[in-house]
Symmetry: C2
Subunit: 347 residues, 2 copies
């Protein structure tokens, strides 16, 4: 049992310090206002000397609370890069909570189920789930209804409250940036099912700007379902740039796709932004390390996470009475070197 590891318990400390067990418990939990300073010091000192670590498992058991939030993310996700994870954990820690993390691949239904069950078994008090775009919103609705513990979804369009960014404006501004540079033949590599709400938002912003400017639109310039797999982005980029007349600017749904796009374009011997301008969406740390550096739209991930977490904690602590107002955040256009005047616009 326990593979032979012996740990110091409260009882050991109590015996050693010559006091009762609850006394030690109280003192170590800083409920020591009622104890004599001498006792407090002796207890603390003894505990330290004996290498006592409180047993959070037993503590959770008796309190009926673990103080743990479960986070289910994706293996490869801009949202769950190390910095974001550490931020999340840090925010939680400040609020007196701990984080349990599980990562699965998008589309791996079995893993999603396993991990959620596991987190629930571990008695997490709330669940933050990055919604799998390949699953129906109904699935998560059912999950929420069936579960006794509060769940907030990230990246799912049909949730209330929702924390998201003003994509239509952002995409409109981004598109306008290209139009201002003289671009007319602009391809938007959507790469997601535009029947979903957020992709739709972005596309609508793009279309709005293009129409207002009277710029031409071709249906095949708006492909859905590219997904962000490397080969697909590569193939799509190649195909699009072989058209005549060639588009002068490409907008990608996210920075990851734009990175692949940039690589593809440069490997075709074209120059960025001289021959083709490109833009991403997200503003990953990496996007400043490409050459040319990537023009993009910054998503305020830390703020989005903070707000989502706040919603979850509210719901845990206040139950159904928690406020559920949505928050729509601004996204900022970050102009770097991957966009420039359209060919022919330079004199």
């Amino acid at each position: 049992m326990n593979y032979g590891v012996r740990v110091v318990t409260l009882r050991d400390v109590a015996r050693e310090a010559g006091v009762s067990l609850p006394t030690v418990s109280h003192v170590l939990n800083c409920r020591d206002t009622r104890y004599s300073p001498a006792t407090c010091v002796r207890v603390r000192e003894t505990a330290r000397r004996m290498g006592y670590h409180r047993n959070e498992v037993a503590r959770a058991m008796v309190r009926g609370r673990t103080g743990i939030i479960g986070v289910l993310g994706f293996v490869s996700s801009k949202i769950y890069g190390g910095e974001q994870l550490a931020n999340l954990a840090g925010t939680l820690k400040q609020a007196g909570w701990r984080m349990h993390l599980a990562l699965r691949d998008a589309g791996d239904i079995q893993a999603e189920e396993d991990y959620i069950n596991d987190l629930v078994s571990q008695q997490v008090e709330g669940l933050m789930i990055s919604a799998d775009p390949l699953r129906s919103p109904a699935h998560y609705h059912a999950l929420r209804r069936a579960s006794d513990i509060p769940i907030v979804l990230m990246g799912s369009p049909y949730e209330r409250p929702e924390v998201w960014i003003d994509s239509p404006s952002a995409m409109r501004a981004a598109t306008q940036h290209l139009l201002d540079l003289g671009h007319r033949r602009i391809v938007y590599a959507v790469g997601e099912d535009i029947s979903r709400k957020y992709p739709l938002h972005r596309v609508s912003g793009f279309l709005r700007a293009m129409q207002d400017a009277g710029a031409p639109l071709q249906q095949d310039w708006l492909p859905g379902e590219i997904c962000d797999f490397r080969e697909h982005v590569q193939a799509f980029t190649r195909k699009v740039l072989r058209a005549t007349p060639r588009p002068t600017a490409l907008m990608y749904t996210n920075d990851e796709m734009a990175l692949v796009g940039l690589h593809t374009i440069l490997s075709m011997g074209l120059r960025v932004p001289r021959d083709v301008s490109i833009m991403g969406f997200d503003d990953l740390p990496l996007s400043q390390l490409t050459w040319p550096e990537l023009t993009t739209v910054r998503q305020p991930f830390p703020e989005m996470h903070r707000l989502t977490l706040q919603f979850l904690l509210d719901r845990i602590e206040k139950g159904k009475r928690a406020r559920t107002a949505s928050r729509i955040l601004k996204a900022e256009l970050i102009v770097r070197q991957s966009t420039g005047p359209a060919p022919g616009e330079r004199k």
Copy 2:
């Protein structure tokens, strides 16, 4: 208490199924050979219908085991990218364990201590720690000695058993690759304290190759302590490339640094590899997405993690009797486009 969340317990299931509590426990833990099939089916069905999730906290308490391994990594780490994490978790899962993750920044002593204490309090049965290069090996030795639970370190040079790669050979081969391309003025941006074992290993491989080839060496071409912060790498790269005669090749300690280096070089208006060749070390997924793609040395991270984990699990399960043989893995040179003939070598 429990913020009002009610969960189904074994007792509830027992009552509902009309059997005793231990019966349910036995059946659900697959110790059901002794029970009638009818009972088993009824119990399982009832549990499923009632949405029973076993309480791992209570289970851990009574068994004196949590089945959890604590992993302490770095916020930004090639090792703890999402894929690696998921791999680790997957390997653990297969072996019947779960993972708890904590991430801290290198040099943040307080956080390291907090997280280790926290993981211990959570009753993890073993600890995998990415050793902080800024801390002394003695520190971790003391930690291991003081702790009752098994600890394995990753990236710490003075541990037994160690899982590492044959850096001298790898660096020698990498250097030879450049020498074969006609390079003589090669700068190795060590970026770490070469009094440490592994950096020393790499430097020794580099020096060996250079000396064997009779290539010139200047002391200031081997700076320690650059660290991999962007500004430092940038400044160093600029400084080195302003020298006369200019070096024709730069080797970076890792791919992250090489990425910054590449960005810096290109932004100086130099061409890679026409004017300067560069190499990294690690082979991150990203290194195939730069342009030109990065020549580098591949570290077999998944295998390294697997072996390290194996050591830890062995030690947990077999105690001191666990085998402690070290494993030195091969690292492979991956030639891509960022290295080419030295200027002047082309005719």
